[in-house]
Structure formats: C-alpha cells, structure tokens
C-alpha cells in the first residue's frame, strides 16, 4: 500500500463506476479496516457509500415486504419495529452480530460481502483466498472449517444476516458501472469455492450491492434465527440456523450458517413434510419428524479431522429449532 485514495460517492451508479480493479467499497469498515491493517487487501481507492441518499433506508410493510439499503446499519435493522414484527429472524440475526459497537457502524451490505474468518487466511498465510495454490487449513487446524460444500477451500461464510435472509428468500439488487441494475436471489448471489475461489459472491468487477429485498411471502410467518457461539458475545457462529415457515404450505425453509463456504440453504424438496397440520399434531410424531429432518439436512456432510462436532451440533440445532414450534 503506497497511497490510498478516498472518494465519497453520491450515488450507487457513481460508486459502481469507480469500482475498477484496485478499488474497494467502504461502508461501516468493520471488515475492510482489519483487512487493510492485516495487509490482506491492498486497494488504491476507497469508495465510501455511507453518504449516498437513501443508502441506509429501511422500509417494511406487510404487503410489500422489506427493502433495506446496503448501507443500513445492523443496529437500525435489529431495532426497526417493522423488521422485528414481520421478519424477526432477520432482526435476531442482525442483533447476534459482533458487539453493539460493531453493529452501530457495520452495514447489511458489508456484512453480506464480508470475507471469511479462516484463521489461516486472516493470519496472512498463503491460501486460495489470498491468491495461493493450496489450503493450509485442510491439513492443519480444521475445527472451524466447513462440513458442507467445502473444497478446495473450506473456510466457512461468517455472516449471520445472510443465513436469515436466505431462509427468507431475499433478493439482492446490484448496480452496475453502466448504471443498469440486476436483481438476483440471495441463493444465487453466493457461490462455492468449486465455482470461484477468490471470492464468496458472484459480484463482478464494477458491481455493487445497492439494496436487499425480503419478499412479503414470509412477513409475519413463524420464524427464528438461532446461533451457537463459544463466547456469549462478540463471536462468529460455530453453527447457526434460520427456520422460516411458509404461511400456506406448512413446510419450513431452513438455512444454516457456519457449516459451509456460503450460507447454506437446505433443499426443501428433500425434506419430509411435517406429520400433520399444525393444529392437533402428535408430539411424538412431531419429534420424530424433527429428528428425521435434521438427519436429512446434514446428509452429504463430511467431516475433516476435527470439525465433526459441527455435524452433530447442526442436527441438534435444527431439531431444537423445529421443536420450538410445538409451543408456538
């Protein structure tokens, strides 16, 4: 890093236009600044999007769902009455991030685009993420690594809100340098290392996340975000789970965090249906279904030398979260 420019963008279009190679988007900076300090990214220009009018807006309606600007602060999302009422899983996911100080500056767009927390990558050891040609973690301390979708990089995606948003079937609006806009589902926004090694998203050069939209379909439906951490605060998830029930067809959408290189959406088609309608169901059948669903969810998971506990943990977490609805 020899010199570092700074530009205050006044629109997403302008920001996208500046995102040539060597430029980085700055919003809250809670991930970018540590990356800069550790020398893991070496941009020549920082494009600040925090001043763009409307970039931090949050609007929520029962009919229209939620529209959240990329630069909205996690604290503001977690405390927004509409989000809390209609999308409690998202509110809970935002509240579970880092510390209050971090949430007060961290933004949703930045959180979705943050880089992995893999010990090796963050220590500046050459690996796929830093342009190297091997994964030192795979042969080293692997207890934090992925049990699903891993390889050749096994670093897990660290975001909490992404897991909730995935279960809520959120869309991402992306602005391009030429001013055009494309929209993609969150499920398509993220990719696996087998698709693309250097990044975790399908954002191309000259593209910037402008807005996140949560469809009205799940507004006010039963939903939950549960996160297991070693420390009671300021910790990334060992495993997290978002469970969102559809209103009409009684079947949950389940997403997991901390288990894969991307927020992991379970294929609902592969899960069995709950035993009966919500009214008057049989507790034993319900419990068996929850256990079966947890088993199905982790089918295909693979443990490395010391991350096998995550399989058990994820199963338990899914089962527990599903069982909570017996009391709803």
């Amino acid at each position: 890093m020899d010199s570092l420019g700074f530009h205050r963008a006044s629109s997403f279009e302008e920001a996208a236009g500046l995102l040539h190679s060597g430029a980085a988007v700055l919003a809250g900076g809670t991930d970018l600044v540590p990356l800069l300090k550790d020398g893991l990214v070496k941009p020549s220009l920082l494009v600040f999007i925090g001043d763009i009018p409307g970039a931090a807006s949050i609007s929520v309606t029962r009919r229209g769902g939620a529209r959240i600007g990329a630069a909205a602060k996690l604290t503001d999302i977690a405390n927004n009455p509409g989000v809390r009422r209609l999308f409690p899983a998202l509110a809970e996911a935002c509240r579970s991030v880092g510390t209050l100080q971090i949430r007060n500056v961290a933004t949703l767009g930045g959180n979705l685009c943050q880089r992995p927390r893999c010990w090796y990558y963050r220590s500046g050891i050459a690996c796929f993420k830093s342009g190297g040609e091997s994964c030192p973690a795979r042969d080293g301390l692997d207890e934090a690594l992925a049990i699903l979708g891993g390889g050749p990089c096994w670093a897990v995606h660290p975001s909490d809100p992404a897991v909730a948003l995935l279960a809520l079937d959120a869309k991402i609006t992306i602005r391009r340098a030429d001013g055009s806009v494309r929209e993609t589902s969150l499920a398509d926004f993220y990719c696996l290392p087998s698709d693309r090694l250097d990044r975790e998203t399908r954002l191309d050069a000259g593209e910037i996340v402008e807005r996140i939209t949560v469809p009205a379909r799940y507004a006010g439906s039963p939903q939950r975000y549960a996160k297991v951490t070693q420390r009671a605060a300021w910790d990334f998830a060992l495993v997290s789970a978002a469970v969102v029930w559809e209103k009409r067809r009684f079947r949950p959408r389940i997403a997991l965090g901390g288990v894969a290189p991307r927020p992991w959406l379970l294929d609902t088609a592969r899960l069995s249906d709950p035993p009966v309608s919500r009214r008057g169901r049989d507790p034993t059948a319900w419990e068996l279904w929850a256990i079966r669903t947890a088993e199905q969810a982790l089918r295909g998971s693979r443990a490395l030398s010391s991350n096998g506990y995550k399989i058990e943990l994820a199963k338990n977490l899914i089962r527990r979260t599903l069982l909570e609805w017996r009391r709803v």
Binding site: S123, I125, P136, Q230, R231, A232, L313
Partner: protein
C-alpha cells in the same frame, strides 16, 4: 536508628513465584511493633478510592505509549515469519534510502548482546516466529513500517517443533539444549499406590495462553550523551535498569527507568524487553529519543505465554477418603526459552499426603520464549490435581467438598514446618456455606434441568477447587517518606503499580502511620532516579514486601517529627502520638496540629528511611483460597456458561478490601477465559501462530462473566510481617478453571480433560457419557 553493627547484613532465602532465591537482607535496627488483629487502625483496612482513578478514567494518566518527547523517532521491527531457520540475506540499502528513515540496525550493526541461549540479539539464527531480525527508526511510525517492508530478506527454513503433539516425548529434535527433568519424591509412591484401594489415573492437557495486558509492551528511550532515560511499560523498573545497563555495557547510574502507570503485565513485563534494548541502540545511533511500542500481533508473538503442558496424575486413597499417594508427571513446552518452576509444586503442597512424586520434563520449542503468567505453573498444576481429586471423589462416592475436607494439610509438608496460618479449611467452609453445598445426591432438586422433547437439553452442575500460593513477600524493599513544610507527606519507593492499586495501598499505610488524611500523602513509584530499590511487581509480593518498608519509613519520619513536637509541646517524644492530623500528648489534652509542627520546623528536612526486614524462618507464609462454580451445559451444543462463582480467599489484613476484591474479580475472569476460551493456536506443519489478535484470541467478554461473589478471609497476620498482610494478586486465578471443569464434570458425568472446554470437546464428552450410560446422561 543506631549505627550498623556486625551482623546487619545476612544471607537468606526468599520465595518468588514458587522459586527460592538467595538474597542478602538488611536487618532493621528497629522494627515497628506488628499491627495485630486488634490494632485500631483508621485507614489501613478500609476501602478507599484508587488515588489515580480519576486520572485513569479521564485519560490524564500517562502510560508509556502516551509519552512524547521533542524530536522523537518511531521504531518498527522486521520479524521472522518462520519458526526456525537462518537469515541468508539481509539487505537494508533500499530501506535506508526511504524518506524519514534515520537508522536501520541489523545484527551486524549492534554490539553483541547475548539473548536466547547465548545467541545474540538480532541473531541470524531464527528460533521462533516473530523473532526480531532488524529494526528501523524513522520520523513517523508509517515511515518506519514502510522501511521494514523494504528490507530485503531471505531465509533458509529449518526444521521446527511445535508444542507437544508428539506426546509422550523423550526428546525434541533440533532443539538447542537437551530437555531437562526435575524429580521430587517423598515417601514411597509406588508402594502406596499399590496398596490403595481406590486409584485413579488421568492425563490432562492445557494450552499455551497469553497475558493480553491491555497496554502493549513498549519503551520510549532517549540516550542523551552519557545518560539513558527509559520510559517503559514494565513490572520492574530496577530489574530493567540492571539488565539494560548490563546489555549496553554502561553503569547503572547512567540509566533511569520510569513507569508511572502500567496497563497490566500479568508477568509478561518482568524483564528488559528486546524492544527496550533496540530502542536504546536506535536512540544512540540517531541521537534522538525513540519510541518503540509493539502492536497486538507483536505482543502475541514475542511477549511470553503460559506454556502448553500435559500432566498425568495418579491418585490413591483409602476407603475413608484419606489420600495415600500422588504421582504427578508433567511435560512442559517452554517455547524458545523460559524458566523452570513446576506444575508439580501444588501437588506437593495443597493436600496432606505422605507419598508424593512429581516429575517435570521441560522442552524447548519453536515459539516465543515463555514468561511468568499470573501464578505461573500453579494454574496448570491446579487444573490437573483438582480435576483428578474430583475423579477420585467420585470413585470413592464421597462428596468432592467432603473429600477435600478429609485431606487438609496440617503443615508445610516440604519444609516440615507450620504455616503462619492455614486458612484452607475456613475458605472451604465459607464456599460451602455460600453455595449451600450439600453432599451430593443424584437428582438433586435444586439443579434444574431443561428438556427438549423427552430428553435433557440443559444440565447444571457445581464444582469446587482450592489453591495455595507462597505469598509472604520479602526483602529487599526500601522506601523513603518525606514530610513537607505544609504538613503533607511523600512516599517514594521503587515498586510499580501495574493496575493492582499498590499506589493507593502504600499511601494508606503511610497515612495510617502519620495520622494524616489520604489526600495529604502522595506516592511516587516506578522511577529508579527518585525512588529507592524495590523488587518487581510479581509473585503477589508487593504489599507484603513494600508495605512494611513504607510503614517503617513513615514511622522513622514520624519519630523525627515527634522529637521536634516534643520541644514545641514540652512533652517527651515517647508520650506523643499522631492522630487525625494532630500530634497529641497521651494522657493529656494537649495537642498541636501536624502542620503547625512542620511549619515551625520550616525547611528542616525530615526523611524517614524504611526497609523490609527478613521473613520468619520457622513458619511458611502462604495464601489459601477456594472457589466454587455453578455452570450450565447445553447438551445439544456443548456450550458451557458459568452462572456463578463463589470465591473465598485469605490474604491476611486487606489494607484496602475493595482493591483486594477487585484482584479476585480480575483473577477469576482471567481464569474463566483459561477454562472456556483462551488458547494460542499454532499450526503444526507451518509452525506459525494463527490467532495473534484479540479477535481470534478470545478473552472473556462482559456477557461471559457470571455473578462473582467474593469473600475475603481477612485476619491480620502479625507473624508474617508487621503490617500483617499476605499476597493476593495471583491466587484468585488458580482455582477458577478446575472449579469450572469440575462443575462441568458434575453436570455431564464425564470429565473433559483438556482446556479450554470448547463446544467440540464438551460434545465429545457428552457422547461418551451417553455411550457409557454414565452419570445423569445415561438415565432417561
């Protein structure tokens, strides 16, 4: 004081952090009468606000990193990224040409200063990742860092050894010194184990952990002609002075070391750091002051650790729960260097046992040198010993607390002499009472369990652990007390206050003697130029070592003042006492205010000199403590949350009970981190640490800290020293981790034998418990 006669200086032993050190001690010509338990004291023994509290919370207290001198340069170091090998190329030409760069020093540019195993400082032989290879001084920190990046360097990577993965190990290849082993045995351990009806053996493992003092290590040094002034974040200004003078080859009278405020040390700031020496050499080379403050990564790499240790414990007991044998073997990965203390010591001392064998194997490994860390070795040893005690208690079907009750020591079993006071029993009963401890019954109703479906989801458990720590302090320690014309007083002593509150405690002692309010006494410490010698702030020694010296100095100053007052009041000096700011003639109504006497004397200099006398030779001074933990274990996630810690510790007279309790809080929180989160991660293949920052190295957050109930068993110990105090700085960290681990054992019925108690390990233990249908988890 009378003039010195023969026999004034004697050679004696002093116990420092479990090590015996030989020291020459000055016998006091007079020693004040001890403050006994019934002594009526006004200030010593009562809570008082820290004298520097306001300065610290408002930011006016200046720490080393706040020091800014005119013309000051900033230093940065090039550190080896490899665990082992050799520097094959080191070219600083490009770095030297950068703007702002004033000096670049490599091993070739500095005098030969023996550092690791006689290898010189800035050696081209690399023994650990983070070892300094070259240093730069520049006009700004940024310029210095840029210059470091421009230094051309190449390494030939050598073989390395990380930790104790190859356990059990006989020797580690390629290490500079052969591994060494310490054996201590009393009785006949083999026979005792053979004859014991109940025997348990278990292997315990603890990770390397870091001190993580809030203030990073660093110095500001100005080598000005013949004089070197050092502002240093240190636990020992006099030790740094001695070591630095030796390294630089100059007289101690040319070196001044200052540490007015220190933001924590925990043992990692006990010696003169390489940063101090290098800042001095850079200052000499440039003729300007040099500031060299390490960043968090450098602190994690090169400022010491508590070593990774594996311990195998075998305990044997009779059916009635009386310990018959303790067999304790430990393997300790020191790092590139370190000192030998021993986790076995606590196994030899804490419980009564005739047959004890401790064997400790030490190894050098390719990671930064080990350093003391708050109750070094005892913390590790206590985890193994106290975990094994609970295992044996379960084997015997005796309540763990009752089991300990049956094995309390009655004397110092190593030195075969009594303790000045043996408070382990009272501490145990206090914790028992506060926790409402009743002998273990399975399915105890006060232990709530939560269900998911028909299965247990969350279980609770409770555990206890005990501690012993040598805490008598000792000589040498000196203090001056000066009484000013306006009736204020100043204490000067070469100790430090690294956040423990010693500044306040020493002021309380002096004010007590002088009968002055606390705000008329000021304490100067942490300065080799204005303060007489005192030892490092280590070994829980400060109050018990420096306290008596300050008291004696204050008594000496007061005696001089009373002599003057005697003339003024026309009363013999021995009839006068100082009380509440007045000099009072005993048995009369005559008194005169303190400042009236001092004003009368004008500029007459009254300086009292005090020093710490020798320790008692027929008794052992030790602090005891017991902690109880209540935990909640989530059976589905393996996450442990501590709900409550109850701590009872013994410290003699607590000069300031509030500060003493804050030591308990600090130790317990640090111990909780050791139990649940903290560990240095190091890749075995690459040999490099992976969590050199406070994000990945997890210290407890506020949300992790449970309700902490502290109880000081505070009884003055006049036989220990004439202030009646014992040390308390380190003891509270010792029992926390085993108490928590024992509570987890109680909750899930299986021991997790390795710290920290991560979700992965706890889940594995729960699985094991379910398979074996052991304890509460086997029962549906």
């Amino acid at each position: 004081m009378t003039a010195a006669t023969t026999g004034r200086f004697v050679t004696t032993t002093v116990e420092v952090e479990g090590r015996e050190e030989i020291a020459v001690v000055e016998l006091p010509a007079f020693e004040p009468l001890p403050w006994g338990p019934r002594e009526r004291l006004n200030l010593a023994g009562k809570a008082a606000e820290r004298l520097d509290a306001l300065a610290k919370v408002t930011g006016t207290a200046r720490y080393t990193s706040d020091i800014s001198l005119p013309g000051m340069l900033f230093a940065a170091a090039l550190r080896a990224p490899i665990p082992s090998g050799r520097v094959t190329l080191l070219d600083t030409t490009a770095a030297k040409r950068l703007p702002g760069v004033q000096a670049v020093l490599t091993g070739r540019d500095i005098p030969l200063i023996p550092w690791l195993h006689g290898e010189p400082l800035l050696s081209s032989r690399v023994r650990y990742p983070g070892q300094p290879v070259a240093v730069v001084a520049a006009e700004s920190l940024r310029q210095a860092q840029l210059a470091v990046e421009r230094i051309k360097v190449r390494y030939r990577v050598g073989k390395h050894v990380v930790g104790l993965q190859q356990f059990p190990v006989r020797r580690l290849p390629g290490m500079p010194a052969p591994p060494f082993t310490e054996r201590v045995e009393r009785g006949d351990v083999r026979r005792a184990i053979k004859q014991s009806p109940a025997v348990v053996t278990q292997t315990y493992r603890v990770p390397a952990v870091l001190h993580q003092a809030l203030e990073p290590h660093g110095s500001v040094v100005f080598w000005d002609g013949g004089r070197v002034v050092v502002y240093d974040s240190t636990q020992g200004v006099y030790r740094v002075r001695r070591e630095l003078a030796e390294y630089l080859g100059i007289g101690e009278h040319r070196v001044r070391v200052v540490a007015e405020h220190v933001g924590g040390g925990f043992g990692s700031k006990n010696n003169c750091g390489s940063y101090t020496v290098l800042a001095a050499l850079l200052s000499k080379a440039t003729g300007r002051p040099v500031k060299f403050i390490l960043d968090r990564r450098e602190v994690c790499l090169d400022c010491g650790h508590r070593p990774e240790t594996i311990m195998r414990v075998t305990l044997g007991a009779a059916r009635d729960g009386v310990l018959q044998a303790i067999d304790f073997e430990a393997w300790i990965a020191l790092g590139a260097d370190g000192w030998v203390g021993g986790p076995g010591q606590i196994a030899r001392q804490l419980y009564r046992c005739e047959n004890v064998r401790t064997v400790e194997h030490y190894f050098y490994t390719n990671v930064g040198p080990m350093s003391s860390m708050r109750a070094p070795y005892h913390v590790e040893g206590a985890f193994a010993l106290e975990s094994a005690m609970d295992l044996l208690a379960r084997r015997l079907r005796i309540d763990p607390l009752e089991f300990r009750r049956r094995n309390l020591p009655d004397e110092d079993q190593e030195k075969k002499r009594p303790y000045v006071s043996l408070m382990l029993g009272p501490c145990l009963e206090e914790v028992s009472k506060r926790m409402g401890w009743r002998p273990d019954r399975p399915g105890d109703t006060d232990r709530r369990r939560f269900l998911t479906g028909r299965e247990l989801r969350v279980v609770r458990g409770r555990g206890i652990a005990a501690q012993i720590w040598p805490s008598g302090g000792g000589p040498p320690a000196y203090a001056f007390v000066r009484i000013n014309r306006d009736g204020t007083a100043e204490v000067a002593t070469g100790t430090q206050d690294m956040g423990t509150g010693s500044r306040t405690v020493l002021a309380q002692i002096a004010a007590e003697v002088l009968g002055l309010p606390l705000d008329r006494v000021r304490v100067t410490l942490g300065d080799t130029e204005s303060c007489p010698y005192a030892n490092n702030s280590w070994g829980s020694m400060t109050t018990a070592s420096v306290g008596p010296a300050v008291r004696m100095a204050a008594e000496d100053a007061l005696r001089q003042l009373l002599e003057a007052a005697a003339d003024l009041l026309n009363v013999p000096a021995d009839k006068l006492v100082a009380r509440r700011g007045r000099i009072v003639a005993r048995g009369t109504r005559r008194s005169v205010s303190f400042e009236k006497v001092t004003e009368h004397l004008g500029d007459i200099v009254i300086v009292g000199r005090g020093h710490r006398g020798p320790n008692p030779t027929t008794v052992t001074v030790a602090s005891f403590g017991v902690q109880g933990a209540e935990v909640e274990v989530d059976l589905e996630t393996g996450v442990v949350r501590v709900l409550r810690i109850v701590a009872a510790h013994d410290c003699g007279r607590a000069i300031n009970p509030e500060l003493a309790e804050s030591q308990l809080h600090g130790g317990i929180i640090q111990g909780l981190g050791y139990a649940l989160f903290e560990r240095r991660l190091q890749d075995r293949r690459l040999g490099v640490p992976l969590n050199c920052g406070l994000h990945e190295y997890k210290v407890p957050t506020l949300a992790d800290i449970p309700a902490i109930e502290t109880r000081l068993i505070s009884v003055a110990e006049p036989a220990a020293n004439h202030v009646g105090v014992k040390g308390l700085g380190e003891p509270p960290i010792i029992p926390t981790a085993p108490a928590i681990a024992n509570a987890v054992f109680d909750a899930i019925g299986v021991q997790v034998t390795e710290l920290p108690l991560t979700a992965a390990r706890v889940l594995a233990a729960i699985k094991k418990a379910r398979r074996r249908k052991k304890g509460v988890l086997g029962v549906r």
